[in-house]
Structures are given as structure tokens and as C-alpha cells.
């Protein structure tokens, strides 16, 4: 089946009747996934958004419950659930894989994060294959295919004036029922592409296993500012902190993104900090991406989206690190 580009507006209008539809677009100068209004303002042709779509499942700030003392002097606790049916339309391979990683963290190994799960169960993922790549894209070196997101509910591939449409999950198949009026028979020509930036991941994890005390961390972290940019633009970074705010007799407990690059992240009671300098913090970030996550979940936590490469203010570059590791004899 194909979806003619001229029908996209109508399709998304239809989907918007029963769900919040998120599309890539520019909002006040920032490219991100934001609620759909009209097809004209979508930026489906941009290569990737500046902010990843992770906040659809894992908001930067998420209220967990309210609590306090009510008028009768009794304590109350109100769990909060702001999950709603959502569609993400136009997600790319890298970001789709980041959802796979977050699913691992939030839903497996005997731990189920109910806030994440509530949102995840209500999310329909519609991927669009990339016909262009940015200079910083390297997903195909991370074992992905820019034109194929096997875990997306629906996969679109872009031709000249239409997208091919394939449901890949039961949820996707069910969703396609309501797409029918906008689809037609046909096929599309898709140009084959590959990433311009290549890295070789062979042996990288094994070497990192032996590189905890390697001088590279000191060297690489010298220029790092220890800001949160790389972790906050990363689609797979998923660390959070839980905190609360109280006003008179009412309070709210919430969680919010945290960054392993911040000094406070590992600060313990009694003032001990096991990662006292940016050397340990930067090492942790890269180890988590390229080594520790693999130990636990059998895949790397870097999906090759290139956002950190693009946005780091001092050009700390994970792809350069991977190259360097390749050259080390450890």
C-alpha cells in the first residue's frame, strides 16, 4: 500500500481525533517532535530533530504523585497518570532503536516502570526511512539500517510523491484499519543510501572491558565542560532523579532527567562522590554507551544518531573515541 503525500494532512487530521500526534517540526527555532497542526509546518525532510522524541515516553519532568494534608486534616496521596494515546509520526531508525533500549531499561529484568509502561502501551510508532543522511549520522555502523526500523509499528519509505506503508506489528495492523481511506495500491521507488560517517565497532566492547584505567579518559575529559548537553540530546540517555516540592500543606513528587556528567549525580550523603571529577563522569558516559549496557542488555546504548557529536560545545566526539579505541592495543 502507499500513502500519497497529498493525503498526509488528512490522515494526520483523522489520527488526531483519537490521539495526540507528534511530528518533527520547528518550534521557536528548535527542531523536535511536537503536536501536529498542519502538514505545512512539518519538517519530515529534515535529517534529524535536535531534541530526540524520548520525552514522549520519558518526559524531562514527570509528576508521579501529589500528597499533603486535606481540609479534614487527613493525609492524601494522589497518584498521577498523564498518559494518553500518542502517535509519533516520522520517527527515524536511530530514535526507534533508542525506544528499544529504553524498553529494556524500563520494562525488563524484573522491573517494570509503571509511568513508562503507561505511556509506552499507548504509543503508536510510525517510522519513516531516511533518504538523506547528515554528516554526523552513523547508525549503520551501529548495526542499524537507516531505511528499516524493524520494531516500529508501521514503517514508511519515502518515494517521490508517496510513501510505501507496511504494518510490522499487530498494533500497527490494527492501526492501519483507520488509515485505509487515505491509502491506495502502488509502489514507490526509494533511493538506497548509507551513512557517510563510518566507525568500526569490532572489538570495541572487549577492549573497553580492559580500559577502565586507561589514560584516554584523562586526556579526553580535559576539554569536556561537564555540562549536560550530550546526555540531554541523546535519545537513549535515561537517567533520572526523584525530588519533591512542597507548598504549605501540599506537595508533589516528580522525577526529572539527570545527567551523569553533573557532579551532583553521584554525590552521596556524607559528601562522598565516587565520580569526583569529569574524568570519571565522562568515562562512565562512554562506558555505559559502549560497554556496560551491552553487558546487561546485549546491545550498545549508542544508536548512532550523531546528536552529541553535533551539539557538544567542545567537539567531544564519540566516533573519534571509537576510532581511537580501535587503534589501541589493550
Amino acid at each position: 500500500m502507499i500513502l500519497k503525500k497529498e493525503n498526509v494532512q488528512n490522515l494526520l487530521d483523522e489520527l488526531s481525533k483519537s490521539a495526540l500526534v507528534f511530528v518533527p517540526k520547528e518550534v521557536d527555532g528548535v527542531l523536535k517532535f511536537a503536536p501536529f497542526k498542519s502538514a505545512d509546518e512539518m519538517t519530515l525532510d529534515i535529517i534529524n530533530t535536535t531534541l530526540p522524541p524520548k520525552d514522549l515516553l520519558f518526559p524531562q519532568t514527570q509528576k508521579m504523585y501529589r500528597y499533603g494534608i486535606d481540609a479534614d486534616g487527613k493525609m492524601y496521596v494522589d497518584p498521577s497518570d498523564d498518559s494518553a494515546e500518542q502517535v509519533v509520526f516520522g520517527i527515524r531508525t536511530c530514535d526507534m532503536q533508542s525506544i528499544v533500549c529504553m524498553d529494556d531499561v524500563f520494562l525488563t529484568k524484573g522491573f517494570v516502570d509503571e509511568f513508562y509502561q503507561a505511556k509506552r502501551d499507548k504509543l503508536l510508532t510510525v517510522a519513516i526511512g531516511c533518504n538523506k543522511v547528515a554528516e554526523t549520522c552513523f547508525c549503520d555502523s551501529m548495526g542499524l539500517d537507516p531505511q528499516n526500523s524493524p520494531t516500529a509499528d508501521i514503517q514508511l519509505l519515502e518515494g517521490d510523491d508517496a510513501y510505501s506503508v507496511v504494518a510490522q506489528t499487530e498494533k500497527g495492523e490494527k492501526a492501519l484499519e483507520s488509515w485505509k481511506p487515505f491509502l491506495s495500491e502502488g509502489s514507490v521507488e526509494v533511493p538506497k543510501i548509507e551513512c557517510a560517517l563510518k566507525v568500526d565497532m569490532t572489538g570495541v566492547k572487549d577492549k573497553l572491558d580492559r580500559m577502565f584505567d586507561h589514560p584516554i579518559w584523562e586526556e579526553l575529559s580535559a576539554k569536556c565542560l561537564a555540562c549536560g548537553t550530550c546526555t540531554y540530546v541523546c535519545p537513549t540517555c535515561h537517567c533520572f532523579d526523584i525530588s519533591q516540592e512542597n507548598k504549605m500543606k501540599d506537595g508533589v513528587r516528580f522525577r526529572c532527567w539527570d545527567s551523569c556528567m553533573f557532579s551532583e549525580y553521584t554525590q552521596m550523603a556524607g559528601d562522598h562522590n565516587p565520580r569526583p571529577t569529569k574524568k570519571e563522569r565522562l568515562r562512565n558516559r562512554f562506558m555505559h554507551k559502549l560497554c556496560f549496557f551491552e553487558d546487561r542488555y546485549g546491545k550498545t546504548l549508542c544508536v548512532g544518531c550523531g546528536r552529541c557529536v553535533e551539539k557538544c560545545p567542545v567537539s567531544v566526539d564519540i566516533t573519534c573515541l571509537i576510532d581511537q579505541i580501535g587503534e589501541f592495543d589493550v
Partner: protein
């Protein structure tokens, strides 16, 4: 340009070999065309990795602070880097004998993708280093940029409601990565107010009120010390117009206390830490 690059390499080699300095901070190549990145060198055999070209966008001054105590370090200073050094000297964050400064007159740096001169360089008022131990080139002459308060004046012209809406939009974009703070040569507090969890000044939620609180407090904390290097605005991944906040304070201080530019010398006191009997006190 490459003449300066050659001189940087030669002098770095000499300084490291003679043991006069323990480490050198300059720029090296990045992965992509016209990309550079700060480069730290201890080994004199590596000086050929140093580059100097139109794309050395990072201001290096603040690194001198982070490396304090590691022995004397040498670094390249253009107008902005040099004023950053002065900033830290007058804040007593650095001692003059901690650093050896290779001055470079600067013609402005360019964005590697658009090839346009960076906004911070278009707005720069001091292309020549204002402090150095040796100068690696001829001083350059640059006309002062036109009115640097254009953005501030545009905001001042807004109605109260327009201004509130404008700042809501601005702060709705902040992701609180704190890159603006981490890059700033004024931000040398042992512990930033943001990280003082027990005092709990800065709430952790990311929303407009908390983001605004951070953004305004940051601007006030650098207040009379901001050297207008423009690094905070350059590094902000969300493109917040941070210089308009810094310059609003500078403009008001100029009006209230007379023209003053931070970072031009290594002695305080700066405007807001000077008390004079005839200071304006119209709000008291």
C-alpha cells in the same frame, strides 16, 4: 593565519622543551571539515597537531582555571580569551604566574557550516588580546561594532505583556544542560547555586518558572563581571538569546554608574562591588 599557526607550534615546542610550562592549551583538528576542538599538549613532539585557522570557535580562557595547580600552563589568547584571563585574575580565581599567554590578534572566527563570522565575533569589541606575555602577530584594527544593545532595546520597547510572553517562549526552550554556566569564565564558584541541594535554591523541575529562575540568576551572578565573550550564547544547544540578558545588565550599569567594561584589566573592583557616596539610590 598559517604564519600564526607556525609560531604557535614553534613557541609551544620551546616552552614545553625548556620546561618553562607544563602544558599547552590551543586548538586541534576535529573530525569534520573546518572543525577544531580545544587541544591540550604536554609532549613537545605533538605540537604539529596544533592548528590555527578561521574556525577556532572555542574560547580557551576558562581552561586555565580548571588546570590551576597542575604547574604553569601556556595558552593562546585572543581578545576574548585574554579578557577571560583578566576576569579570573581579578576574581582571584587564577594567579598571573599560573599562566603564560601567547597573544593572537584575531580577525573573527567563522561557523564551519555557514562560513559566516560568528555572532559573538561580529559583536566583539576587543579583537587584540588585552593581556599577554608575547604577541604572535601584528595587532589588527577593527571598528567598534555598532550599537550592541539593539536586542536589548527591542525587548525594552515591548509592552509588559509582550515581554512576559517573549521570555516565556525563551525559557520554555531551555533544557537546563548548564553548558552556558560551565563555559563561562565568570562561573568559577566552588559550588554553583544550582548544585547547592541543601539550600534548594534551584528546583529540579524543568518548566518555565524554574528555567527562568536559573537563566536570570545566572545572568545576575555574572552581572558586572561578564566580559561579553558570547560563549554562553554560542554553546547553548537550544539557541537561547543569552547575550540580551547579559547586555541588559551591562546597559543598565552603564546608565547608572558610567561606562564600564569588565575584563579589561586584572584589578577590580567591578561596578557592583564598588561603593561610592554619590551612587544612585533611587529605589531606596
Amino acid at each position: 593565519m598559517s604564519a600564526i599557526e607556525d609560531k604557535i607550534r614553534i613557541r609551544t615546542k620551546e616552552l614545553l622543551e625548556s620546561g618553562e610550562v607544563a602544558e599547552f592549551i590551543g586548538w586541534g583538528k576535529g573530525r569534520f571539515e573546518n572543525q577544531t576542538s580545544p587541544l591540550f599538549i604536554k609532549d613537545p613532539s605533538r605540537v604539529d597537531e596544533l592548528v590555527y585557522n578561521d574556525y577556532c570557535v572555542n574560547t580557551l580562557g576558562k581552561y586555565a582555571y580548571q588546570m590551576k595547580g597542575d604547574g604553569k600552563i601556556a595558552l593562546c589568547v585572543r581578545g576574548c580569551d585574554a579578557r577571560a584571563i583578566n576576569r579570573m585574575l581579578s576574581d582571584k580565581a587564577l594567579n598571573r604566574e599560573d599562566v603564560y599567554l601567547l597573544g593572537i590578534p584575531c580577525e573573527g572566527m567563522r561557523d564551519r557550516k555557514t562560513n559566516e563570522v560568528l555572532k559573538k565575533c561580529q559583536e566583539c569589541r576587543h579583537h587584540n588580546p588585552v593581556v599577554y606575555d608575547e604577541l604572535l602577530g601584528e595587532e589588527v584594527e577593527f571598528p567598534l561594532p555598532e550599537n550592541r544593545f539593539v536586542e536589548v532595546e527591542a525587548i525594552e520597547q515591548m509592552s509588559t505583556q509582550e515581554r512576559a510572553d517573549y521570555f516565556d517562549t525563551v525559557f520554555s526552550k531551555c533544557i537546563r544542560c548548564y553548558a552556558c554556566r560551565d563555559v563561562c569564565p565568570c562561573c568559577t564558584c566552588n559550588q554553583c547555586f544550582v548544585d547547592q541541594r541543601e539550600a534548594d535554591w534551584q528546583g529540579k523541575q524543568s518548566n518555565i518558572p524554574e528555567n527562568r529562575f536559573f537563566g536570570l540568576t545566572r545572568a545576575f551572578h555574572v552581572g558586572d563581571r561578564c566580559i561579553e565573550c558570547g560563549e554562553c550564547e554560542r554553546v547553548c544547544p537550544m539557541g537561547l538569546p543569552l547575550m540580551s540578558l547579559n547586555r541588559k545588565l551591562i546597559k543598565d550599569m552603564n546608565t547608572l554608574f558610567g561606562e564600564f567594561e569588565a575584563g579589561m584589566g586584572d584589578e577590580g573592583p567591578d561596578v557592583l562591588r564598588t561603593y561610592k557616596l554619590d551612587d544612585v539610590e533611587e529605589f531606596m
